[in-house]
């Protein structure tokens, strides 16, 4: 995917030089291996800082809400879907955006690589054709790229941007996968097992709110966890509070979540928070036939209704 870098720079240069946009949002090369930094450039002389490889997992749509200027934005499949959601939710106007689409082959899960390296950080990492190599001290590790993909990328069915003004490469083949095997596994458990499963899942939570803040959908001026009158959820590490946070956070992104995986990627303690959101995604697909961020002129499922919506348990 590094080959996209040149095309991204070219596009950014053209857009800025022709004054089509005021800024371009993309990534610049990170200061440590397997990390890149979201970056905003304002002038042509900065375009060579733009960079692309398989470590651009953070969702750039997160930087769009309420921007007043004209923005060029580099967007992979999931970013583009979140841009669609932002447009639907009036966070940004389509006319303000110039979308540089990136057909994506999945992003690397840094955590998985670190685990494979027994927690030892690499000093150097390189992407080869289909492979990833990391080096530090005596440990020189090369593995299949697919082995290190983020969980959400493995089951991604929208690798190509759904909306764009230009593409930096040929469209890639979309995967035909069953997205919900893990959800079904949990559904098959007994209620008590499910409760315990989630209790264990969120046990290491620090309440740093990185999952919330990395999420492009979380743009409320005041989040419910910060509300004081009433205080919906306590501030301590009490497990009911932590659970309330995760539960309501997940519910808040119902019908909007594109499964971009930014939440899991950001989590410092490796909680698979997508286990909450994917259930909602599955239900919404089954009940209302809706997939978030795919069609630009369809109201999100919780902002509309059909007279004959299923109501299995209403008396």
């Amino acid at each position: 995917m590094r080959a996209y870098t040149g095309r991204i720079r070219e596009a950014a240069k053209r857009l800025l030089a022709e004054n089509r946009v005021d800024v371009v949002i993309g990534f610049r090369k990170g200061t440590i291996p397997l990390m890149n930094e979201p970056y905003l450039i304002k002038s042509v002389d900065q375009v060579n800082q733009l960079y692309w490889d398989s470590n651009c997992g953070i969702n750039l749509a997160n930087y769009l809400p309420k921007r007043p200027d004209r923005v060029g934005i580099v967007a992979k499949g999931c970013d583009s879907r979140n841009i669609v959601v932002h447009i639907l939710e009036n966070q940004i106007k389509r006319e303000q955006l110039y979308i540089i689409g990136v057909p994506c082959k999945g992003m690397l899960d840094r955590r998985r690589i670190m685990a494979e390296r027994n927690g030892r950080e690499p000093l150097f990492a390189e992407e080869l054709e289909h492979k990833v190599r990391t080096v530090r001290y005596e440990l020189d590790l090369t593995r299949d790229r697919n082995y290190f993909l983020q969980d959400n990328c493995r089951i991604c069915t929208h690798r190509n941007p759904v909306i764009y003004d230009e593409l930096v490469g040929d469209l890639v083949e979309e995967q035909q996968v069953d997205r919900y095997t893990d959800v079904r596994k949990i559904e098959a458990m007994s209620a008590e097992e499910r409760w315990e499963h989630f209790e264990k899942l969120i046990e290491p939570c620090l309440r740093c709110y990185a999952c919330r803040n990395a999420c492009p959908l979380c743009y409320c001026p005041t989040c419910f966890v910060d509300e004081a009158r009433p205080q919906w959820v306590g501030k301590s590490l009490d497990k009911t509070d932590t659970r309330t946070f995760h539960f309501l956070r997940a519910f808040h992104v119902a019908g909007r979540c594109t499964d971009c995986g930014a939440c899991e990627r950001a989590c410092p303690v490796g909680i698979q928070v997508r286990q909450f959101t994917k259930k909602m995604e599955k239900d919404i697909k089954e009940l209302y036939g809706y997939e978030a961020g795919v069609i630009a002129d369809e109201r999100p499922p919780l902002d509309t209704y059909r007279p004959g919506d299923p109501e299995p348990f209403f008396k």
Binding site: F198, T244, K279, L302, P307, K315
Partner: protein
């Protein structure tokens, strides 16, 4: 020894279900006293936060009731609510909450009998489950 009695928080819409509760009262219909009614303008006004808040404070069961679909005073509030609660209940079930703690119904202001019947049904269902075990915060569990 006094027997345990469940506490049920009922969010009743002002225009229908709350009216039916009133009518049940003036019609001298019997229904269990476990119901704590909270009057809301519309079932669509009920935020999932309210339900979580009630559970956290020790409600053994939750009951949300509004106008029949098509009869909403605000035309469509209950239709949005229907989607919201369907997903909410599914997510609560999925994360391990007993499904029988949550109840939803459509009761018009004329259906006092249905109100009393549903109230009995809700209380019976929650009684079978016993006291709430999940999502209650009795004190902060910290070091």
């Amino acid at each position: 020894m006094s027997e345990w009695e469940p506490k049920i928080v009922a969010f009743l819409c002002n225009w229908c279900s709350y009216g039916s509760a009133d009518l049940a009262g003036v019609s001298r219909l019997q229904y269990p006293h476990n119901i704590r009614a909270i009057r809301v303008p519309c079932s669509g006004r009920v935020n999932p936060k309210f339900i979580l808040a009630a559970l956290r404070q020790g409600a053994d069961g939750i009951w949300v009731s509004g106008c029949h679909p098509g009869d909403c005073h605000y035309i469509e509030g209950n239709l949005y609510a229907r989607r919201k609660f369907t997903l909410l209940k599914n997510l609560l079930d999925y994360t391990g909450m007993e499904p029988e703690r949550l109840h939803f119904s459509w009761i018009s202001s004329a259906e006092a009998t249905k109100f009393a019947e549903t109230a009995r049904g809700v209380v019976d269902a929650v009684k079978t489950l016993g006291p709430a075990r999940h999502f209650i915060k009795r004190e902060a569990e910290v070091a």
